[in-house]
């Protein structure tokens, strides 16, 4: 009995087909082929190795092919792609693994031992030469960038240098194109301009803002960034043209799925499902139920329907390099070199004109000389007027106007004032300019013809040619008749050497004065604080006296009265109040009032004898005390000696 067809069978088949397409290797390997393109490269260049595995759809997935190590070759995987085809109902899958092969030394290499699932592939041969390869040229041509081959940097980006000539003369300039290619989808930041890494050449006139254009190389979308500049050979001999470009690239990189991880579990589950779909009956209820379960699993779709693993963004700083080998630079021939040759190499024309031809002797006129063409304009120096007794010429003002972006082609203009010194002058002498023509390998002299002029006698007396500069230029300025202020050296731009030490000394002395004043002030502040403390103590003891008077406590009254007097005297004499006993007071102030002595005696008695004092005359004592205080307001005699130390403890 035949089971009824499931209504979703067509959709399921379609889904299985898509799943099969996504597998890295989706079937048993039945045929393995190897191709290397180009088969001939130079040392340092990279070539592409492709291993294609064709399998029947019913096979079992095998994984990546085995690739043996080949001594002298650096083989790095750079990608893979899969495809599936159905021919006469037979499904076939094809997986292609791509590698970048970079040889380390010249020779012929046999890449053998490639196999997939036990199926061996044929041996391929790679020829590595020392010089640039035909493959490099072909590859460059396909990238629309003929010339030097780039050094691959994991095929993310590479640099190419286009030099139109392999043989140059020293001093010769040629326009060059520097092109960097970046694979589509990666982020790129240029961290510097292209630069030569050899001192045999100089690179100038590079675009500050290079042009950008999309291009396709080997089926891959790339962004081409192009600079144009002028390369000048400066050292004779055979040299490698080396150039580098620092960049930072950002790209997505697949994270490998570890065995036993959740992703790995999903991967195995997915492979099992596909295997069941392809080996068993894809329309069976079990298979369909598994697929439905898989589709319900959000994590399966959350990580992508197909088990490609996760990705991370990688930022990588790279230095792209390109080089031309064996560029030969020939020194300029010394034989036949004209004496007025200034080093200009290229192809130039010369023209000259006078601002006017009707002249007056002694009056200047502007002579304009133009050197136009292509070459190293940096060494196109002045085109002087030949020595002449009838013409005086001044230094020229030079200006350059480029007619291309890099400054390889243009015109250099020299403007100078010339003066006919005699009235019978009929022509301005012919001008000549010598340069080296690299195309013909010879020195060439270009001549601007003599210019006919009509010179009339001037009203002013004519000056001799050698006297013209000072007479015409600085004649109005007078010489100084005194030496004036002098400086011994110009190294400090005329600043006298004593200025800095003087400033430092002034600041030092001021700071010292401030420090001294601060120290003194601190002492004053300390004394003021003492005085304030004594005043507070006096107030406190007087308040206690009044309280004792109100209570009729004679002992407390006299004790506090003694302390009030002690503090007042201590304040006047700048001593510690506790040290002012009756003897000390008498010694310092022999004429001390009688009441003061009596007060001290009563105070000592109240403090030390513990005897009750009579309270009947406290009111009278209060009046006598006030009178005593009035006496103390007048300055007492100066103390004989400072026998009582100043104390910090003020009570």
């Amino acid at each position: 009995m035949t089971s009824p067809r499931h209504p979703l069978s067509h959709s399921l088949w379609a889904l299985a087909t898509v799943c099969a397409l996504s597998l890295p290797v989706s079937a048993l390997a039945s045929d393995v082929s190897v191709k290397v393109s180009p088969a001939s490269v130079a040392v340092g260049e990279s070539t592409r190795l492709e291993i294609t595995v064709d399998s029947p759809a019913a096979g079992k997935a095998q994984g990546v092919p085995e690739l043996p190590a080949v001594e002298g070759l650096d083989i790095q995987p750079i990608g893979q792609r899969s495809s599936m085809s159905v021919i006469n109902g037979a499904m076939k899958t094809s997986a292609t693994f791509t590698y970048a092969v970079t040889p380390q030394r010249p020779g012929t290499y046999q890449i053998s031992g490639v196999q997939q699932g036990g199926v061996p592939a044929q041996t391929v041969t790679l020829t590595v030469t020392r010089g640039p390869s035909a493959g490099a040229k072909a590859s460059a041509a396909s990238a629309q960038a003929p010339g030097g081959k780039a050094v691959s940097a994991a095929n993310l980006a590479f640099l190419r240098l286009n030099v139109p000539k392999k043989r140059l003369f020293a001093g010769e300039s040629v326009p060059v194109t520097v092109r960097a290619y970046f694979r589509g989808g990666i982020g790129v930041t240029l961290t510097g301009p292209p630069a030569m890494t050899t001192d045999a050449f100089t690179l100038s006139g590079l675009d500050s803002e290079p042009s950008q254009s999309p291009t396709t190389i080997d089926g891959q979308n790339h962004l081409a960034v192009t600079w144009r500049g002028v390369l000048t050979a400066v050292k004779s001999g055979a040299h490698d043209l080396r150039m580098q470009l620092p960049v930072t690239v950002q790209y997505h990189e697949a994270v490998p799925m570890p065995q036993g991880s959740a992703d790995g579990g999903r991967h195995r589950r997915f492979e099992s499902l596909v295997e069941q779909l392809m080996n068993g009956d894809p329309l069976s209820d079990d298979a369909f139920a598994d697929l439905r379960g898989a589709m319900r699993d959000e994590s399966l779709f959350g990580g992508g329907l197909f088990p490609q693993g996760r990705e991370r963004v990688v930022t990588r700083e790279m230095t792209l390099k390109a080089h031309h080998r064996d560029t030969r630079v020939t020194a300029l021939p010394t034989a036949g070199r004209p004496a007025d040759f200034s080093g200009a190499v290229g192809n130039f024309d010369l023209s000259s004109r006078l601002a006017r031809t009707d002249l007056i002797a002694g009056e200047p006129v502007t002579l304009t000389t133009v050197v136009s063409g292509s070459g190293n304009f940096g060494l196109v120096s002045d085109v002087p007027l030949p020595e002449s007794a009838t013409w005086k010429a001044y230094a020229a003002r030079a200006s350059f106007e480029a007619t291309d972006k890099s400054g390889y082609e243009g015109r250099k203009t020299f403007e100078r004032s010339v003066i006919p010194t005699q009235a019978d002058v009929q022509t301005l002498p012919a001008l000549s300019f010598t340069y080296f023509d690299p195309a013909s390998g010879r020195y060439v002299r270009k001549t601007a013809p003599a210019i006919e002029v009509a010179v009339e006698p001037g009203a002013a007396p004519l000056v001799a040619a050698e006297d013209a500069p000072e007479a015409g230029v600085l004649g109005g300025l007078a010489l100084r008749s005194s030496v004036g202020r002098t400086v011994t050296s110009l190294a400090s731009a005329g600043v006298a050497t004593w200025v800095a030490p003087t400033a430092a000394l002034m600041l030092l002395l001021s700071s010292l004065a401030l420090l001294l004043a601060h120290t003194r002030r601190t002492e004053v502040w300390r004394k003021r604080a003492q005085q304030r403390a004594l005043n507070v103590a006096v107030q406190r003891h007087r308040a206690s006296m009044k309280a004792a008077l109100a209570r009729g406590n004679a002992a407390e009254f006299f004790a506090n009265g003694q302390r009030v007097v002690q503090h007042l005297l201590a304040k006047l004499w700048n001593v510690a109040p506790a040290g002012l006993t009756l003897d000390e007071v008498t010694r310092r102030w022999p004429a001390a009032p009688h009441d003061l002595r009596a007060l001290f005696r009563l105070g000592d008695e109240a403090e030390y004898c513990q005897q009750p004092l009579p309270t009947t005359d406290l009111q009278a004592w209060s009046l006598r005390f006030d009178h005593l205080l009035t006496t103390l307001k007048a300055p007492p005699p100066a103390p004989a000696t400072a026998s009582v130390a100043t104390t910090e403890a003020l009570t």
């Binding site: 100089t202 060494l379 002045d382 010489l479 008749s481 030496v483 004036g484 050296s489 400090s492 731009a493």
Partner: protein, 247 residues
């Protein structure tokens, strides 16, 4: 004793000044007579013995210009202007020689105009005055602590003036921290020898910086950033501190 010593010093100074003035008059006479080469020699000898002064450098520049030595004249006038930036005759002489050499117009930025209008010496004296204000503030603070506002005003004015003056000295020094190409047809080369490959030519009077020296050559960098070796005799620093690194 001290009086005798002071009299001796005064007499020696007076005789030195008289000798210098006599030598200057002799040089000026040579210049007026058209013997520019001898006049240049006299002026240079005077500078060697008496030091640099705006007047001597101005006269030297005049003589060099008259002798057709435009490059050295440019250097002399630049040096004179460094010491006396507002002297109208020095400015006129420099401009005239510049025109004659077709050197590019100097920068018109306000900072350059300011630093080229006040000499480093004047900035230094302004700094000294600022320093004196700070000192006055400190002394007033020591003497009269209650005069806090006046002290603060003096200190602030002194510090601001001192800071501006220091910046002015540095900026002025920097603006003269270059060298001039003093001969026409100067070619920068790849290496410090005559046979080395020529890189580019440098105009007379063009300002460059001397990075280092090697033998009779100096490695220079132009304002445009081009670098190369030129004979040291063809480039002269305006201020001797323009040589950044000795070899």
């Amino acid at each position: 004793m001290i009086r005798s010593l002071l009299i001796c010093i005064t007499l020696l100074s007076a005789s030195g000044v008289a000798y210098a003035d006599a030598a200057l008059k002799r040089a000026n006479d040579l210049q007026a007579a058209g013997d520019h080469t001898s006049a240049i020699r006299e002026y240079e000898a005077l500078i060697a013995t008496r030091g640099h002064s705006p007047n001597l450098l101005y006269n030297l520049g005049m003589a060099q210009n008259a002798a057709g030595k435009i490059g050295p004249a440019l250097v002399s006038f630049e040096r004179a202007r460094m010491l006396a930036p507002r002297d109208p005759q020095i400015r006129q002489g420099l401009q005239t020689v510049r025109d004659r050499a077709h050197t590019p117009v100097a920068s018109a930025a306000w900072r350059d105009r300011l630093t080229r209008s006040v000499s480093a010496r004047e900035w230094a004296f302004a700094g000294l005055f600022g320093c004196a204000l700070v000192c006055a503030g400190l002394l007033l603070s020591a003497r009269s602590p209650a005069a806090r506002r006046r002290v603060q005003a003096l200190l602030a004015a002194g510090l601001v003036l001192g800071g501006v003056a220091v910046a002015g000295v540095l900026a002025t020094k920097q603006s003269f921290d270059h060298a001039l190409i003093v001969e026409e047809g100067t070619v920068a080369r790849q290496a410090p020898y005559e046979g080395a490959a020529a890189l580019f030519s440098i105009s007379l009077g063009e300002a460059v910086s001397i990075e280092r020296r090697h033998g009779t050559y100096a490695f220079v960098q132009t304002r445009a950033g081009d670098e190369g070796w030129v004979p040291a005799a063809r480039v002269t620093p305006v201020s001797p501190s323009a040589v950044h690194q000795a070899s």
